[in-house]
Symmetry: C2
Subunit: 344 residues, 2 copies
């Protein structure tokens, strides 16, 4: 058993794009669990775009990380010591311990992972928060119907890839948008979308229009920026827009220059009877069992495919989060923090 | 029986605010109904903000009025000749005959008015399209709950006055916004809102914030512009915004200057899990019987009050519509086109 713990702290708040200077790696004494506590060892850390928001000061839907505090996040962990009646050593649990190798827990917020459902790291992706985000946002707000056109950006990512494949299972025409030819090829050929457009190539708006001859009925918004601008004029009457993320804006330090397009947006909301609705996965937490059964079944049957982008070592998490915010990851970004026990 | 008909045509499309030159009063031969047809005599013409949109070229949710065509709209009419098996002379019917004294009809789109439900002109307001707009938008999209705060603009108008009174009946704290002290006094004292703010006085944002100490849960959007800007920062998590009209923008010829606040709007939609949903009354036409029973009952019981602003003579309709778009009407604007028979 080691005697030291590694943690990554928020050293300072970023202005715009985060830099490595905003993070600090520290070594601390490995703590011992008091009565009723557990010691958890991190195996896989999830890196997700929402973490950029937590680095800012000020109220959002969750409290910000304090400067000097451990960066937050979910990890797949192993129970290595237990003074807790409900947990035994060797259990694999999802735990909100953030960016560190070890952490104490009093059991709150832990979720046992059943290794028979798939690789344990999937609890950070297709069978966890991103998958549930895709499933609940699409089903509750997007409400896709057979024959409708669904557009999803960040289509090779943890959320977008599931949204699009669910759309196909629901009988939609599904158009993905992704950054770069390799991701688009994957989305098109491996995930089975009807088409995937590279947003880095010229004239996204024109190509998207050509790819959506019947307009757009559901736009799953997880990007914002130029992609939203391209989709917007194609929206059909009664289109639904689940708003799940806006990664294009997370590093923005000011609003774009004018004109102010809010009146244009609202006019379209009115005339086309659009529904824009924001959501956060926790709003639909009660649907987790149903999600796990349905999507878990499709994953095991190979009808939903899933790609991980794994980096090694906690110390690389800052660089990798910066990469996620640039769209450099290809698949769900996770960091392997510790040696993973042989899976069941 | 006269031999001449008066009609008001769209003479030219307005650029910005309409002017009297955009309209043309003409006299035509009074037509005779063919077999299967009716001749209708207009009693009351409804003037509504949506009519500004119909004066523009280009596709909206309804076809535009053609240049040289009769201005469109709903009227309360009397059947004065009938070769139609389902209608007899003397009946009072709501008819989409537009801005004219007489019109032929083959019976399509007519809706019989039951004079026992209230004054026949109410079919253009509280018991008609504006009332149904208020009722369906608030109930289906706004979904007000007891104790929540509801904000409604144009609060003395045909739609806003009903929205606010329904909100009170549903147990909400209701804050109105209207133009001028007289309208605010009416909304406050006669309609029983909790407060009404004059948007023409200084610091609407600050006064609205003070009037909504618990934030805003439902904002019934029928105005846009500065009112939306004042409400927006006060919206609570999970607030609902039925988007019903944007009168502040109808005469706009270009977008306002920057910055572009769309990213700010979308960020709030996400973080606060807002729902913005546009609707048009026809989307909820199936709820008309339920509306008529429920709201009609409240009107007859005096629990929903209603104010009409009546102008005399078809020839004044252009001037009066321009006034509606400036917010000069006080209550539902209707034009008395013809002598009204003694009501039942």
């Amino acid at each position: 058993m080691p005697t030291q713990n590694k943690q990554i702290l928020l050293a300072s708040r970023p202005h715009g794009e985060p830099t490595l200077d905003n993070f600090k790696l520290v070594q601390t004494e490995l703590p011992s669990p008091a009565p009723g506590q557990l010691l958890l060892r991190s195996l896989y850390l999830s890196l997700d775009p929402y973490m950029r928001g937590r680095m800012n000061e000020g109220k959002s839907y969750a409290s910000p990380v304090e400067v000097g505090g451990v960066m937050g996040g979910q990890a797949v962990t192993e129970v290595v010591e237990s003074n807790h009646p409900d947990h035994r050593v060797g259990e694999i649990v999802l735990a909100p311990i953030g960016w560190q190798e070890y952490a104490l827990s009093d059991g709150d917020g832990l979720q046992e992972i059943d290794p028979s459902l798939g690789p344990i790291s999937y609890a950070l992706g297709v069978l966890g928060m991103p998958g549930l985000t895709a499933y609940t946002g699409l089903m509750n707000i997007g409400q896709p119907k057979p024959g409708e056109t669904l557009v999803v950006a960040a289509a090779s990512g943890a959320v977008g890839s599931v949204v699009g494949q669910l759309g196909k299972l629901k009988g939609c025409r599904v158009i993905g948008i992704a950054g770069g030819a390799e991701k688009c090829r994957y989305v098109n050929e491996e995930l089975g979308f009807d088409d995937c457009l590279d947003h880095r190539a010229a004239d996204l708006a024109g190509r998207l229009k050509a790819a959506c001859p019947d307009g757009v009925d559901v736009y799953f918004e997880n990007v914002g920026g130029e992609v939203f601008t391209a989709v917007f004029p194609l929206l059909n009457n009664f289109a639904r827009i689940p708003v799940c993320g806006l990664i294009a804006h997370y590093n923005a330090t000011e609003l774009p220059s004018g004109p102010d397009r809010v009146p244009l947006l609202m006019q379209n909301v009115l005339v086309k009877r659009l529904t824009l609705r924001g959501f956060i996965v926790s709003d639909f937490a009660a649907q987790f069992p149903q999600f796990l059964e349905e999507v878990g079944g499709w994953v095991r049957a190979g009808r939903i495919k899933y790609k991980e982008d794994v980096s090694e070592g906690l110390e690389n998490a800052p660089r990798e989060l910066i990469g996620v915010l640039r769209g450099e990851n290809f698949g769900k970004k996770i960091v392997r923090v510790g040696t993973v026990p042989r899976e069941a």
